[in-house]
Each structure stands twice: as C-alpha cells, then as structure tokens.
C-alpha cells in the first residue's frame, strides 16, 4: 500500500461512517433493526464510554478499541469514525470549491490552555453528576442534534412533497410522514453549533477538534506517544510548504520540521500533497520525536480526572418542579375548562428507570426523539432543570407512547434508556394519571364522551355509570403505565380533564385482569 493512498482510504472510510450514522438518524420509518444500529454506533466514543460505565460488557466496549487504536495509530477516530469530523470535512471541501483559489491553511500554535482546560472542567462536572457540559461538547451528540432537529424536518418536507407528486398520479406506495416540531428554542443550540462549525472550518479547518472537543483532547494525550506517527524526513524535505497548506489541524511546523502529532487528526492530506514523499506515516521507533512536552502538567491533571470519572459516579438529584402549562389551542368544547393541570415531574421514557438515571447518562443526542414513531418524545427545555436541557420527555400534546413499542430503549446508544423486553415495558409505570372531574365534558355538558377509556391499553381508566344513562371515567392507577394516550386524546381545552404526571422513580404496574365472561351459547339468531 502506497502512502499516498492513505488519504483515499481515509475518505472512503469516513464517508462510510458518515452515511451509516446519518442513516441511523434518518431512519424515520423505523426499518433498521436495533442490532444493526448498535453495530453502526459501536465505535462512537462518548456513548460507548457512558454505556460502559453503566454496564461493562463487550457491547459497550467500543471506546476501548478506539483508545487502543489511538495509542497505536494516532487519532484515526477523528478523521474516519467521528461523524462530526466527517461533516466538518464536507464543509471544508465545500469551502474549497467555493473559493476561486485553493484554500490555504497554515501552522497554528497549540491552544493547550483552552483544550485541556475545557477537558478538565468537562470531566469534573461529569464526575460530579452533571452531563450538561459534556452534552454541549460531545461531537456525537452535536451530530445527532443537527441531524434530528435540523435535517429531519427537511427530509420530512422533501418526502411529503414527493408524496404529493406520487399521489397526484394515484400511487400510494409512498406516504406522508408526520413531524411533531419541538419547541423552537431547542433548535437554537444545533443551529448555533452548525453556524459555529461553518465559521471554524472556513478559516481554520478542524479547529473544533483541537479546542472544544473533549474526545479530541483526550485522544491527543494518547496520540502524542502513538506507535505510528506522521513525521518529516529532514534529509528529503525541501521546505516547499505544500503539506502545511493542506494541514486541516494546522499542526505542521516547517520552521522546526516537526509535526505536532497530538493535534494531528490523521487525514493524511499532507502525505498526499508532498511531491518528495518527505512527510510520511511510519513507526515512531524509526524517528524519535525531538519535540518538547509543553502540556505534561495538564496531561497529569486530566488523567487523574479520567480515573476519578471511572471510579466515582455520585448521583445528585437535580430535577426542579416545572410550572404548569395550559394548552395553547383554540377552545373547542362549549365551556372552556377551568382547572389547571399541575404536573410535578416530567415523564421520562420507559427504560430510563429513574429521572436521575436519565440525567446521569443521557447526552441528548436525540436519536430516540428522531426514531419515536408517535412523536411523543420531545426535547425538554427547563422541565428537568438545567441539567436536563434537551433531554427527552414524553409530551402528551404531541403524541402518546404506543403500547407495543420499545424503539427508544432498543436504540439508545448510551443506555440512558435501557432496553426493555416488551412484556416488561407493558408493566413499566412511568407516570401516574389524574382525572379532573370539573374539566370533563361528561360533567360540564352532560353528554357522553369516553375518548380516554377508549384509548387506555390497560383499562386503568374505565367508564362507569354516571347520571342517567351517562358514563364518566374512573381511574385506577395501579394498572396505569403512564403512556399518555388518555391525555393525548382528551378533547377538552384549554386544560385537559385527564393528564399524566411523571414519576421520578419508575414503578411496576399491576397486570390488568379481565373479568371472566359468562357466555351463553347461541342456538339461533335472536331476531
């Protein structure tokens, strides 16, 4: 294998990972089987790390492979596997085509205080129980949110336009997809990151990877002393400078003929660009790097925090009670309902076990939100408190939890939402339901409704005789699973007559039992 082919291989592998990871987030029809999604996301660093801390197993050991890979070959992860890296590379390529001249990069000083400072603070805050900072810096989560919150609505719109065309021709093979929009404010963060990355890549290539990315900085500690490195052969090098012009990380210092391999993201652009083949990727035993270690102190501090991160994971409760919300829809029932729905806790998805568990393990990548077939999962703004910014919760206005579905737990990459077998999921109580008689249309209008009892999959709410021939809902919470079907379908506005309040610790509901039927065999038709 010629060294100049390294770049081609890198491009191929990174495109493969970009496409496969994008497909996982754009699997709007839910057709990809969960084990396939697990394989595609296996090597993503932060999700795998979090999953491993929760339950050490082969299935969550992807990050260990990345650590070994980096120790041997350098930061191949950053160029080949990280989807945000591949996305940035497409931006760089785009900018290159945009400008009339070839985009030129140049050597940049390492911003060690910034990158190690960010990494240290992130690790400390993660150890002390808040994943907020990590979720704001993790490249996988950023990629997920950009895909799920910004790209998904575009894909849905494109699909629906195509459907209109097909439908005009009488073909029903394609069908319109629904899209339950999250709160507009939750879109600000991925939008901000997208614009930030566009600015960074336009001027300085992979600047994010060597400043704010905690994975990049962590791996740089290992790649600094990796087995295989990129280095310049001084006897051949003509100091033409072509390699430094192409270096997306700005780590080739021609004055001193060194390559700061800790910042190198292994894109191999330099090797391809050298006319003399003076810059090469070879074993570090061949050529000792004479560079100094300006960041030894920071490295020690970071490694200590890494060990602490593994050992100590205290759980701190940080969910604050949110303010009650009224439905902002035009009133349809005759008398607008009066009693406000007071909710103490948001409803966490089944499999999250407890709200604390969700907040301690979720990095808000939004894969569950993207894949939820009813669109009930939505990113929370303040419902979980500041630590729960953009974490998923069940919003009964948007949808309800389909009784036979376990999709969110099946695909969660960090294990924040655990995989539940379907029988167990049907008995997992994620919330308790409250019925407000004063809001109910049977009480106020004296007319039959029954929508809530219709939808209840466990008949926790059932219709019982009321005044005259009317029937009114009656609730028995021990059967309730908190799916929110009743709240979703209740026609009353602005405050619903039946709603779900989240449980901070999920429970097991009682199995619904049917009364035995006394069936009289029919001899003849009764008419």
């Amino acid at each position: 294998m010629k060294q100049s082919h390294l770049k081609l291989i890198r491009v191929g592998v990174s495109l493969l990972f970009l496409l496969c990871t994008s497909a996982v987030f754009m699997d709007l029809l839910g057709k990809l089987p969960a084990p396939l999604i697990d394989s595609i996301l296996y090597l993503q660093f932060i999700p795998s790390l979090i999953h491993y801390i929760q339950s050490a197993a082969w299935v969550s050991s992807g990050f260990i492979i990345i650590l070994i890979l980096t120790m041997l070959f350098g930061r191949l992860f950053c160029s080949c596997i990280c989807p945000l890296g591949a996305l940035q590379d497409t931006f760089i390529r785009f900018f290159r085509h945009l400008t009339p001249y070839q985009r030129k990069f140049s050597y940049q000083q390492p911003l060690n205080l910034l990158r190690f400072g960010v990494l240290t603070i992130t690790m400390i805050s993660s150890i002390t129980g808040s994943l907020l900072l990590l979720s704001l810096l993790d490249p996988f989560s950023h990629f997920g949110r950009i895909m799920s919150d910004l790209i998904r609505p575009i894909v849905v719109a494109a699909n629906n336009i195509l459907v209109m065309v097909f439908h005009w021709a009488g073909i029903y093979a394609l069908y319109p997809l629904g899209y339950k929009a999250p709160a507009a404010l939750s879109l600000l963060l991925p939008l901000f990151i997208l614009i930030l990355l566009l600015c960074f890549t336009a001027e300085r290539g992979r600047l994010f990877c060597n400043t704010f990315c905690p994975v990049g900085t962590l791996l740089s500690l290992l790649s600094h002393r990796s087995l295989f490195k990129i280095s310049i052969n001084n006897s051949i090098c003509t100091r033409c400078g072509k390699c430094a012009l192409q270096c997306k990380a700005g780590c080739i210092n021609l004055k001193e003929s060194t390559v700061d391999f800790s910042r190198c993201i292994s894109c191999f652009n330099c090797i391809r660009s050298c006319p003399e083949a003076a810059i090469r990727y070879n074993s570090s035993f061949k050529k000792r790097d004479a560079g100094n270690h300006p960041h030894k102190q920071q490295r020690r501090a970071v490694l200590t925090s890494l060990i602490c991160f593994f050992l100590f994971r205290p759980h701190l409760g940080n969910s604050q009670p949110p303010t009650p919300e009224a439905q902002k829809v035009p009133v349809r029932n005759r008398i607008p309902s009066t009693v406000v729905n007071e909710k103490n806790y948001p409803v966490a998805p089944p499999g999250a076990r407890t709200i604390n568990h969700l907040l301690s393990n979720c990095t808000a990548c939004h894969l569950c939100i993207s894949t939820c077939p009813t669109g009930v999962l939505q990113p929370a703004l303040g419902k979980y408190g500041p630590n729960g910014f953009l974490r998923p919760h069940l919003d009964a206005v948007s949808g309800f939890c389909n009784f036979d579905c376990t999709r969110c737990g099946d695909i969660c990459p960090t294990g924040a939402i655990q995989r539940l077998p379907i029988k167990r999921k049907k008995r997992t109580q994620i919330g308790k339901t409250l019925f407000i008689k004063k809001n109910c249309v049977v009480e106020t209008d004296k007319k039959d409704c029954g929508a809530c009892a219709e939808h209840c999959p466990t008949k926790a709410v059932r219709m019982v005789p009321f005044e005259g021939k009317l029937k009114i809902p009656e609730l028995d919470n021990k059967y309730c699973v908190g799916c929110g079907a009743c709240e979703h379908i209740c026609p009353v506005r602005p405050h619903k007559a039946i709603f779900v309040d989240g449980l901070p610790v999920h429970r097991i509901s009682e199995a619904p039992v049917s009364k035995p039927l006394t069936v009289v065999p029919m001899e003849d038709f009764p008419f």
Binding site: L29, G30, Y172, Y175, P176, G178, R332, N333, R334, P373, T374, N402, F403, D404, C405, V441, D445, K447, D448, C449, G450, A451, A453, E454, H455, C456, P457, T458, K459, R462, M463, K469, K471, I489, P491, V492, P512, V513, S514, K515, P516, L517, V519, V520, M522, D524, F525, P526, F527
Partner: protein, 303 residues
C-alpha cells in the same frame, strides 16, 4: 255500444291490474333474488370468508354492488395496534375475501384504509389487514394525515360539518366492514360507529354529544354495503380490549345495506337492547334507516 264496451274493458283491465298488485312480491317467484328482497342476511358457524361467500350470494353476489371498471373503497376497523386474535380490528380474512369478490365482480381498483387510533404503520401491519389486502391485490391507503380529508357539510342536529377522507368522496362504491365489539362510552361499536374512521376530527364528536354526532353522520353518509364481522367478538373492555379473555368466538356475520338494521341486529346478537344504544335510537328516529326487525326480510344461514 262502443262507449259501453270501452267502459267495460277499462273496468276489467283496471280490476286485473289492481288485483295483480295485491298478489305480493312476484320477484319471490324467481330463482335469483335481487338485492331489494333481503334487508338483512345473517350467517353463522363458519370462518369469516366462507360466511361472506354464502351471505353475499343471497344478495345476488358482489355484482349487485360493484360494476365492471369501478373503484371500490373498503373501510374495515383497523384502529388498534394489536394481534387479530384480540378482535379489536376486523378479521383480516374477511377483508381479504371482500377485496377478492370486488375484483371478481370487475372492480378496477380496490382501496382499503382507516384513520387508526394507534400509530398507523404499526397498526396496519399488526392487525394482519395490510398483508391480507396485498395478498388479494388491493391497495392499502394511509388515513392519518389531514391533507387526505376534505371539508363536507353534514347539517345534523349537533354535527354541522366534518372532514371526510377523499377515497370515500371519490370512489364509486363504499363498503363498510366493522367488527362488533363492546365500547366504553357508546355501548357497542358496529357500522355507524365505524364511520368515525373516515373523518379527521373525532375529538369534536367526543366533546359534542357523541351519540348524536354518530347519528347525524349516518344520515349524511350511507355506505353501499355493510358487512358486520361477528366472528370473534370483544364482549368487554372495548374498544381496545385488555386480553384474550375479553373475546368470544361467536362465528357470526351480518350483511345489510342499511346501517341501522345491521346495528340493531348486532346489538341483539351482542345481548343488549338496541333501544338502549343512543345512536341507534337517534338514527332510527331521524330516518337514517329501519330498526323494526320484525317487519323486515331477514335471511338466516347456518353453515
């Protein structure tokens, strides 16, 4: 003499004509019954497809309802994301057989859809109806997007307007295939309640006197044929059901062109008094159909 002869001849002729009218339905002398002869056909003791074969034959075959080159829309009950044994949806075998009959009668295109309650793609699949329809050569159409529903005037007592699915508005023939089951608030759900699956905003019906809205809509939209699936009947905890213990294997079926007749007979089959069911009472009063089973021509078939 001519005038007297004329008067005698006319008197005799009118007497003959008048007495002929007193003879009763002559059509009953013919071997092949026309669809007007039976108001209701009730079949029992076989599988849904065989029962339908026997039942539709008594009404003159599917050719009486579907002409060559027409488009048909079949509306079963595909509401809940559950397996067929739980009887929350119409039996897939019955839907398959109906679609097959339509094609045999010469239909150009047969669409099947419902505005499901649960997530629609899962529901179409798990109910077994999507597979059955594809097997018979029909087309499953989605019913869960508002753009498919167009505003119509209903001018009922409580229901003034609604949004109706375009397939029902545009197709030549509309076949309603409900499943008989208990219902928490409507007592039972049969053909008239099944029509709630062809409109978009059901919530409005629930918050504005459900029974009256059902009756109003049944005065407005009458399907060409109603086939009530009473093979597996959910006797309690309807309409979604909780477990298989709620289901009775009744092995029956009712076919009628009149929804009120079908629902009245279905109520009796279920074991309740049809007059206790609000929407059946209102619909009969408003003239949507006939509920006086004693005066109607009923064909009973036991296989």
């Amino acid at each position: 003499m001519k005038r007297r002869q004329f008067l005698k001849t006319s008197a005799r002729a009118s007497l003959m004509a008048g007495s002929a009218a007193l003879l009763g339905p002559c059509a009953s002398l013919l071997a092949n019954q026309s669809l007007q002869s039976y108001n209701l056909v009730a079949i029992k003791n076989s599988t849904p497809d065989k029962m339908f074969d026997a039942g539709i034959k008594s009404l003159g075959g599917m050719q009486s309802f579907v002409k060559k080159g027409q488009t048909v829309v079949v509306k079963p009950n595909i509401a809940w994301d559950v397996n067929p044994e739980l009887a929350a949806n119409t039996h897939p075998l019955l839907v398959q057989r109906i679609v097959e009959h339509c094609f045999e009668a010469g239909a150009k295109k047969v669409y099947v859809f419902d505005h499901t309650c649960d997530q629609w793609r899962n529901t179409y699949k798990k109910s077994g109806i999507e597979k059955a329809v594809k097997h018979a050569g029909g087309t499953m159409a989605p019913g869960n997007n508002e753009k498919y529903f167009h505003p119509v005037q209903v001018t009922g007592k409580r229901l003034k307007d609604a949004q109706e699915h375009e397939l029902v508005l545009e197709s030549d023939v509309f076949i309603n295939v409900p499943v008989l089951k208990s219902h928490g608030s409507a007592s039972i759900t049969v053909s008239m309640k099944n029509l709630m699956g062809i409109v978009w905003d059901r919530r409005h019906w629930h918050s504005n006197d459900l029974h009256q809205c059902i009756a109003d809509f049944s005065c407005y939209r009458k399907p060409d044929l109603n086939v009530v699936d009473a093979y597996n009947v959910m006797m309690q905890n309807g309409p979604r059901g909780v477990s298989i213990d709620d289901v009775v294997n009744m092995k029956s079926q009712l076919i009628s062109t009149d929804m009120v007749t079908a629902d009245t007979a279905a109520a009796k089959l279920f074991g309740i008094n049809p007059d206790d069911v609000g929407y059946i009472r209102y619909a009969a009063q408003q003239g949507a159909g006939r509920n006086d089973l004693n005066n109607l021509a009923i064909k009973k078939i036991s296989l």
